[in-house]
């Protein structure tokens, strides 16, 4: 549903989405990187389990929530994609989990 402008000249960044390796460009948000890779849905809703995907791209709709490096409820459109990042579909509600304090 999106393709990259041919004049876009940035360094490649590789990350995974649900285990599948994807190459994005530096400066992409996680949500933009997913759209560029043809991925439309990145979460399922807590109420009905319906698939949802990025809607506003500016941090207000919370439709692009994903799990990033094990942390749920991250807004994909506000997080820049990084080399080696692990992005996963957020299935239903974010489950509280204990985290190690760094």
């Amino acid at each position: 549903m999106f393709r990259r402008a041919p004049d876009r000249n940035r360094d490649p960044v590789t990350f995974t989405f649900d285990g599948i390796p994807i190459t994005a460009l530096a400066g992409d948000s996680v949500a933009a990187a997913l759209l560029a890779a043809g991925i439309r849905a990145c979460r399922t809703t807590p109420v009905s389990g319906a698939p949802r995907g990025p809607y506003c791209m500016m941090g207000v709709c919370f439709e692009c929530l994903v799990r990033i490096d094990g942390v749920g409820n991250r807004q994909g459109c506000l997080v820049p994609v990084q080399e080696g990042m692990t992005v996963e579909t957020q299935k239903g509600p974010h489950v509280l989990s204990a985290e190690l304090v760094p």
Partner: protein, 503 residues
């Protein structure tokens, strides 16, 4: 050369001071101009913004833009470069990738009010920072466009596509349909066509009767700078894609994702297979911050939205909190930059940095320019007022609250059951209580209740919003310093929540 993130960029909240003279929230044209003005006049200024680089949404990624972007997005976009560069050269401190999530009164040890305390967070660490003056420059967001199927993956806002183009050079591909109303609809359609997108159709939902209402503002509009620009955009769009006018009903269909766009025009139903549907029906002030802060808001009958009440210097009903730009009412990017400067002057006089004469001398030119750039706005407001059918869903199955999946029928039924205001609706249906905190349903819920009660939206009111206005991790909250005053404030707020009334 100044770096994109600013000479004094603070990438972690630990680098920020405990207190500033002014905190500006938002790095669009209004916020950048306010921060530049007030810091140049000698105020210790901090600008906090959620994005990685300055520009807000209208000038998103402007300092990373290349020649190709300038061609694609036009001179209107390129204007933002100077605003952002001037800001980075000013003495203001800049905290990019930083979310502001609360604002509350700050008192000294003797309990005297000394300003406001702003909750900010970067990369998982939160801080409370105080300022004598706070400028909210949180701008606008796209008006909710509740049609059946608008939650399907493949349906996005037109603004979202524009952001993807500005930040990542993404061009919509496949069968693209753009639908709605407003000056930005044609701007976006033209930009996407220039970028090489194959736009299958533009479905224009502007009601025919709006032309009658707008007609009396036409003479002024014809002398405004919008005319030439508008006609050029319109020509590009009309030449390069199919434009369907007087669209009276619209929906998106598909299982799991968008497959078809269905619309009614001239009494006939039409269908078109689509890979991407981009919706837009104007922008409205993003009131989450000002509402939660307790600023007084009024219903704007022309722009059909709530907006915070501000004085000549953009100060709200709460002393020390100002709102610059579209957040105080939609007037566009050029007006926002001028309003930002005027807001900065207002802060400066309250901080004692300038006198009344100085302020008025600086302000007089700005006010003349403001009148000039907003000329013709009445025409646009009247012409592009979205019709009721697209603000108050006609199909009862339409999802209104996307987060909690609440339908129009459920809202209407709950009004009959006694939920006469948006806050009762939260209790009945949880509408507006998901992570977006009513940003995508607030106006729809207000107008649905108003329609069901045959009352005015003004009487019905809006959700009473609560801090934090952006989700915080428990660890961030827990890491904040806990004074006795803070604990009392939390308890008082909880008590207030339990006793809150309709408005």
């Amino acid at each position: 050369m100044t770096s994109i993130t600013g000479g004094e960029a603070a990438h972690t909240v630990k680098n920020l001071a405990d207190a500033y003279d002014v905190i500006v929230i938002g790095a669009g044209p209004a916020g950048l101009s306010a921060a530049t003005t007030v810091s140049t006049l000698g105020a210790r200024t901090l600008l906090v913004d959620e994005n990685q680089t300055p520009g807000g949404q209208i000038y998103r990624s402007i300092l990373l833009a290349q020649t190709a972007d300038r061609q694609r997005l036009g001179e209107g976009y390129w204007q933002g470069r100077e605003i952002a560069e001037t800001f980075l050269r000013s003495g203001a401190q800049y905290a990019p990738a930083t979310t502001a999530w609360s604002i509350g009164p700050a008192n000294d040890e003797g309990g005297q009010f000394i300003g406001h305390e702003v909750g900010v967070s970067t990369g998982g660490t939160a801080r409370l920072i105080s300022a004598r003056q706070v400028v909210l420059a949180t701008g606008a967001l796209e008006r909710p466009f509740p049609i059946a199927g608008w939650t399907l993956p493949g349906v996005m806002t037109a603004g979202a596509a524009q952001i993807a183009l500005k930040t990542s050079g993404l061009i919509p591909d496949g069968r693209v349909v753009i639908a709605g109303t407003g000056p930005l609809l044609y701007l976006l359609a033209a930009q996407l066509i220039e970028a090489g997108a194959m736009v299958a159709a533009v479905l224009d939902t502007t009601p025919r009767r709006n032309w009658l209402k707008a007609l009396r503002h036409l003479p002024t509009f014809l002398t405004s700078p919008y005319v030439v620009k508008g006609l050029r955009l319109l020509r590009t769009v009309l030449r390069r894609t199919k434009v369907v006018r007087w669209v009276s009903a619209l929906s998106a269909e598909g299982t799991g994702e968008l497959k078809e766009v269905v619309w009614t025009a001239g009494g006939q139903e039409h269908r078109m297979p689509a890979d991407l549907l981009l919706l837009h029906q104007g922008v409205v002030p993003n009131v989450n911050f000002s509402n939660a802060a307790g600023c007084k808001h009024v219903w704007d009958e022309t722009q059909l939205t709530f907006r915070p009440q501000v004085d000549d210097w953009y100060e709200t009903s709460i002393p020390g909190i100002s709102i610059a730009g579209d957040g105080a009412g939609i007037r566009g990017a050029e007006a926002a930059a001028l309003q930002g400067k005027l807001t900065g002057l207002g802060c400066a006089i309250r901080l004692g940095l300038i006198g009344g004469e100085d302020r008025d001398r600086h302000a007089s030119t700005l006010k003349v320019q403001l009148t000039k750039v907003t000329r013709g706005r009445e025409f646009l407001d009247a012409l592009y007022q979205p019709s009721k059918a697209f603000r108050v869903p006609q199909n009862p199955e339409t999802i209104v609250c996307r987060c909690e999946e609440v339908s129009a029928a459920q809202i209407r039924a709950s009004v009959s059951a006694g939920a006469i205001g948006p806050n009762q609706m939260k209790v009945f249906l949880r509408s507006g209580m998901g992570p977006c905190q009513g940003r995508l349903c607030g106006l729809t819920v207000t107008e649905l209740i108003a329609d069901e009660r045959s009352a005015s939206p003004d009487m019905v009111g809006y959700y009473r919003l609560r801090f934090p206005i952006k989700p915080l991790r428990l660890r961030e909250l827990a890491s904040l310093p806990q004074s006795d005053a803070a604990k009392v404030a939390v308890l008082a707020d909880l008590a207030d929540t339990h006793h809150s009334k309709v408005n």
